[in-house]
């Protein structure tokens, strides 16, 4: 049960940490199809965060 809580917390905290950790992605290279890193990294993380949140939802759903 406790392990579940740690996983749930991580699934919320990791995407939150990435979105607030500006120095992680504030750079120009490597570029992707002409887009600076700053832009494509944040856009791709939107998709990744949906994955994290879906996993959160899945575990929460099993709990009840």
């Amino acid at each position: 049960m406790r392990a579940d809580y740690v996983i749930l917390a991580l699934l919320i905290l990791i995407p939150s940490f990435v979105s607030l950790g500006v120095p992680i992605y504030n750079r120009e290279y490597p570029e992707l199809i002409g887009l600076p890193f700053f832009y494509w990294f944040q856009t791709l993380w939107l998709v990744a965060s949906a994955g994290f949140y879906l996993a959160f939802t899945h575990i929460k759903g099993k709990e009840q």
Binding site: V18, V22, P36, F38, Y39, T43, Y53, G61, Q64
Partner: protein
């Protein structure tokens, strides 16, 4: 001047939109004389519909106008909207299912209902309702500015363009008011799905076609300076606090909570919330248009015919018009146009709920159910026209600045609404004082940051660099709410001992 094909597609799709709005009345039929049927669509929207309805709160004129306009004028700072979207759903996943569950058990329709029940304070509940109504007004006005920008681009170069524009907006609003009056949230939900289909088609086509036609993203980035490529170091604290403050504020807006409470179950609500960051991809594409436009000389040339302060809001519609075939522009422009209308309907509805349930009913508790629903419907109509009148009388750029102020205000109800869900030790008096201090200091800082002139910045210079004012004011507010509650609880324990 635009071609006839643009106009024909635009007008025919607008008629489909109105039809859907009225048809909402017959869809999943319920007794629309009940408040929860009219404003929450009977609390039975599934995963997909909640996804579209709350998505409609994201794809508003804020995404079409404020963000691309900011990127166009100031550069990468305004890309904060993307990590903000990512973070806001983390906040929602932690808070909203709990609010949903309590609301289903106790029959809440608004956040203010919850606060009144939780803290037993009419004063606090009314203050929260008033903050919600005020913060929502400039948000609706911003939607209208977005619709205006479409009409301005479509009517550029024609005679009487100003008059035609005002009449068109008036017609659109009368239609909107009529179908929300009869169909309630059902009409808004159906039209939200229609709107989002058009917008998704638009962003996908634009993000493929435009970079190809200008020879890659690289060519647009060559036209702009370094502050468009990455974030200048001095703005890193500003970026992070804009992300944090906006992410905390979104789910405090009455229209977002209204969308949440219309979900059928907490599980479906969680699932659609988890998927909502995908919506942000479309927002990222729209934001990038603020840079792509630099690679399209015809569009830049067209924009240079407008005063510098209004160019930004015209970026997205003009980029579409100058790179896409006429019929496609018609689809895309209508998508943006109703992209302002649908959220305006949901927002006015949420305001009306607050006014009726949490202000008028508090003052006159004998209000019958019939009068309650009638006052809600009428006031939702009035709120729409107040916003329209506002846009007709003040310059468009003001609506964007007031929207900044709205964000600072709405963030201040966070201690009572979010922490109220989980923290048992909070007391009403410190919450009231914290809210007042948060709002007072927020307004003061935003005025000071703009030298008491027209509002254009929501950042306050501090020792750590410029920070988003909503976050600073919220820090004061939280310190008072928690500190004050701790003192009260301690003295209560001491009294018991004696």
């Amino acid at each position: 001047m635009i071609g006839l094909d643009v106009t024909i597609v635009f007008v025919s799709l607008f008629l489909v939109f109105i039809f859907l709005g009225f048809y909402g009345k017959y869809w999943r039929r319920g007794n629309l004389n009940h408040v929860h049927e009219w404003s929450l669509a009977g609390r039975k929207l599934g995963t997909t519909l909640v996804f579209f309805l709350i998505g409609a709160d994201l794809y508003t004129a804020y995404s079409f106008v404020a963000i691309p306009s900011g990127i166009f004028a100031k550069g990468s700072l305004y890309f904060f909207a993307i990590p903000y979207v990512m973070l806001t759903f983390a906040v929602a996943l932690v808070t909203m299912p709990r609010l949903w569950t309590l609301s289903r058990e106790r029959g809440y329709i608004t956040a203010s209902d919850f606060v009144k029940d939780r803290f037993g304070s009419k004063t606090l509940a009314i203050m929260i309702a008033v903050t919600g109504i005020i913060a929502e007004l400039p948000y609706i006005a911003l939607q209208i500015v977005g619709m205006q920008s479409v009409l301005t681009v479509m009517l550029a170069g024609s005679v009487n363009s100003q008059t035609v524009q005002e009449i068109s907006l008036l017609i659109a609003f009368v239609a909107l008011a009529a179908f929300t009056y009869t169909s309630g949230l059902r009409g808004a939900t159906l039209t939200a799905v229609f709107k989002d289909i058009l917008i998704w088609i638009t962003v996908i086509v634009v993000i493929i076609a435009v970079p190809i036609s200008i020879g890659g993203f690289g060519n647009a980035f060559k036209q702009v300076n370094q502050s468009y490529v990455t974030l200048p170091d001095s703005l890193v604290p500003a970026y992070a606090t804009l992300v944090l403050g906006s992410a905390l504020a979104l789910y405090l807006y009455p229209h977002a909570i209204n969308g949440v409470l219309s979900a059928e179950s907490a599980k479906k609500l969680r699932k659609s919330t988890a998927l909502l960051p995908l919506y942000g991809v479309g927002l990222a594409i729209l934001a990038l248009m603020g840079i792509l436009v630099y690679g399209v000389p015809e569009a830049m040339n067209f924009l240079s015919g407008f005063p510098e302060s209004t160019r930004g809001i015209l970026v997205v519609p003009s980029l579409i018009l100058f790179t896409m075939p006429g019929w496609f522009s018609g689809i895309a422009l209508l998508g943006i146009f109703i992209g302002g209308l649908v959220p305006a309907a949901i927002m006015a509805m949420a305001q009306a709920n607050l006014l009726t349930r949490n202000i008028i009913k508090e003052i006159k508790p004998s209000l019958s159910d019939n009068s309650e629903i009638r006052i809600t419907k009428i006031s939702s109509t009035i709120f729409k026209f107040i916003a329209l009148g506002f846009v007709f009388t003040v310059p468009a750029t003001y609506a964007i600045s007031l929207q900044l102020l709205g964000g600072v205000l709405i963030a201040q109800i966070l201690p009572a609404v979010f922490f109220g869900l989980y923290v048992k030790s909070l007391r009403k008096l410190p919450l009231i004082i914290g809210l007042l201090v948060g709002i007072g200091s927020g307004i003061y800082m935003i005025e000071a940051a703009n030298n008491f002139g027209p509002l254009s910045s929501s950042l306050f210079k501090t020792y750590f660099g410029p920070l988003y004012i909503a976050v600073i004011a919220l820090a004061f507010n939280l310190a008072i709410a928690f500190g004050g509650s701790a003192i009260l609880n301690k003295s209560a324990i001491r009294q018991k001992k004696n």
